[in-house]
Structures are given as C-alpha cells and as structure tokens.
Homo-oligomer: 222 residues x 2
C-alpha cells in the first residue's frame, strides 16, 4: 500500500500548503482519534453539514445515521459528500491579533458515499463504531439483533481523495512584534473525560470497566 494518498486538484492544499499532508499514517491517526465527523452534502442547491459518529476500517470511513434523516435520503441516492474530521489542539496566543491562530489537525475526504447493504459489512462497521468509542465494549454490551441491524443505516465513503491539514508548534509573530511587552504562548486544548456517571438503574455491584475508568488516560495518550 503506498504511504501517501495521491493529491488531486480538489484535495490540493491551496492555502498554506506547508500545513498539508497526504501521508497515510497521519491521515489514519487523525481519523482514528476523532469521535465525530462533519458530513457535507448538497440538496436543491443548499449545502448541509451534519455531525455524526463514524469509524475508519482500512481505507473506508463508515458513518452513522437513519434512513429517516435528511442526510441519508440525500446520500443514499448517490450524492457526492465531503467528510471532515477536526481535532482542536490549542490556542496560539501571539503578540499581535493578526497572528493569533489555533493548533489543529484535520482531514478532508471527498467522494461518493453509498449505503451498506451486506449484513456482514454493517456488523463490522457497528463493531468498529463501538470499539472506537470504548475498546472491549462490543463484547461487553448486548450485540445487535437482526431487527436492530435492519433499522440501522450505515454509509461507506472509500478513502481515495483525501488530505490532512494541520498547524502545530509555537507562536509565529512578525519580527518587529517580538519586542512588545505582550505575554505570548500556546494554550493546549484537548478533549478530556470526566468521572463516569453510573446509570441510575445500574447495580452498584457492577464494577466500572477499566476501559471506562481509564478512558481519559487513553485520550491524553498517557
């Protein structure tokens, strides 16, 4: 498998190209770290951007929805989509307002999404959603019945036209501005987990799974 995705005219990073990447591992890592993707599609000349859960399996993104939703009525009939995943890493507090920025990592994937029909592929996608949220959860929770599987609509977008864009590192100020008496630096941001809230109807004797109590360590990469 080639180490990079081929750039196309549509995925070429136009603005600040040094922040762009087509590296496969970089793209996988961003997709696998995100919990929510934003799916864009167009209907009657109006774009829509809808947040939804997703998972990557090999070189495909699977995303979730319902046959009743506006999104799926659109894409199941073959509309082009854009799936974007963005991770916020920090606020870049420069000495000048103009050079304020954000550290982030994002992936933009273009293509045509199709409904997953095969029960086996649907099950594999649901398993990927569940395991992505919480490793081990697929085996711990009750797995989908045939009826539930039928009631679940899942779409697949093959990863072919895809690029990453990111900003990392410190403040970049204009040369003259470094002399200013303005505190400057980066404020790191990350998605953090709080204390698990046991369901009111969950017996206290059932221990909190290690994957739940250790979730924040996993998020922070510790």
């Amino acid at each position: 498998m080639p180490e990079t995705f081929p750039p196309t005219e549509r995925t070429r990073v136009v603005r600040e190209p040094h922040r762009g990447s087509f590296d496969r591992e970089t793209i996988y890592k961003i997709l696998d770290e995100g919990f929510v993707c934003h799916v864009g599609f167009s209907m009657d000349g109006q774009p829509y951007v809808i947040p939804t859960m997703f998972a990557r399996v090999g070189d495909a993104i699977y995303f979730h929805g319902s046959a009743a939703s506006r999104m799926l009525r659109g894409v199941s009939s073959g509309l082009a989509v854009c799936v974007t995943v963005t991770l916020i890493d920090g606020l870049v507090l420069a000495r000048s307002v103009f050079n304020h920025s954000m550290n982030y990592r994002s992936v933009v994937a273009l293509g045509n999404a199709s409904l997953v029909d095969a029960a086996e592929e649907k099950l594999a996608a649901l398993r990927a959603f569940t395991e992505k949220i919480l490793p081990g959860r697929w085996n711990d929770a009750r797995q989908p019945s045939e009826k539930e599987l039928k009631a679940t609509s899942i779409l697949r977008l093959p990863l072919s036209e895809v690029s990453a864009k990111m900003r990392t590192g410190p403040v970049e100020d204009d040369a003259d501005d470094y002399a200013l008496s303005v505190w400057a630096g980066v404020l790191p941001l990350r998605l953090a987990a709080g204390e698990p809230v046991r369901d009111a109807r969950c017996e206290p004797a059932l221990a909190v799974p290690g994957s739940v109590s250790g979730f924040d360590r996993r998020l922070s990469g510790k």
Copy 2:
C-alpha cells in the same frame, strides 16, 4: 426580538424532533461556546466542509479565512453555505450496542455568506474572534494594522434559518435490557485546557495573564 427562530422546511428537525430547538438563547449559547465551525459549500457539484474559527455578533456569524483559500473563492461569489457548530458532551454507554449514543449540542445555520467590506465591521468581527478566544486579549495584543486588515478576509452569515439539535441525559435502554449484567452510564467529555506554554522568546518577567491561567475554569463553567 422573538425568542425563537422560525423553523423552515430546511431547518425542521426530521430525525428525533424532540432533540431539536429553535430557541434563540439555546442557539446563541452553543455558538458562543464553540471555537471552530465547519463551513459547507458546494463547487462544481462537490461539497466541501472546512473547519475555521468564527464568532457570533448579534444575529450574524462571522468566519475567518483568506481570499486565497478555495472556500472564500467560492462563497465570496455568493454561494450558499451551511455553518455547523458541534460540542461533544459525553459518551452514552448503553447495555446494548444499538443504544450507544453521544451527548452533544449542535447548531446548523443555512444561508448566503457575503464578504465583509466595511473596515469598521471587519474590525468588529476580528475583535469578536479575539475576545471569544480570550476575553481581554484585544486590548492586550497589538491590534491590526491597516495592511493586516486588508489582508484579512471575513465572511458574514446572517442567522435566519437556524436550528439546534442536542442529546442530553442518561442512557435509554430497551426495557428487556435493564436486567443485563452490563455496566451502563455516561462518560462526560469536554474540551479542557492544559498548562500554558510560554513562547521561547517571551520574557519570564511577563506574567501569564489571568485570562490564560483561568481559562480552563471558564471552559468548564466553574
């Protein structure tokens, strides 16, 4: 000012309508809490979804970019856009895979974005960006020069066709599943700030501003 935005056929919440809202304060609060919006637009039949910084001023969303970017070449010529802001609040860990979900709050705004021309409005939008990131920062940092102001492209989307959608609260399992021996509950998630990283060229004598050191308390609403 009416307390709700009028629903339209395009902003009506089709799936799980009980999770939808047109309440003005609810919509404002979600927009004001988010740091990044996802802007959707369509070019040559292909939707694009691009993350960018933004701020709300009254009943308009201002978002950031550069005249060189693909996004702005599109929308400045009058393309329809969708601006979506999503906040992740928690993972809903049900007893069944099927009832796993996410607590979230999102806003979807539809309309036509236009380039901001007037220097005064541009300045007000930049001020809103800066103050949103860090209250007080506008006065602390060097403000934009005329040249910088000219080099900055800002777009305005009036808030008129807009709706919120959210999921809050505990697990909702099927009646039969409550008897299962599966730990169930909600794992709260939030964007959290770490320790500020002082810029290498920032004199140690310059104290970390209170707005930076107290940032995480503000994020967590404490």
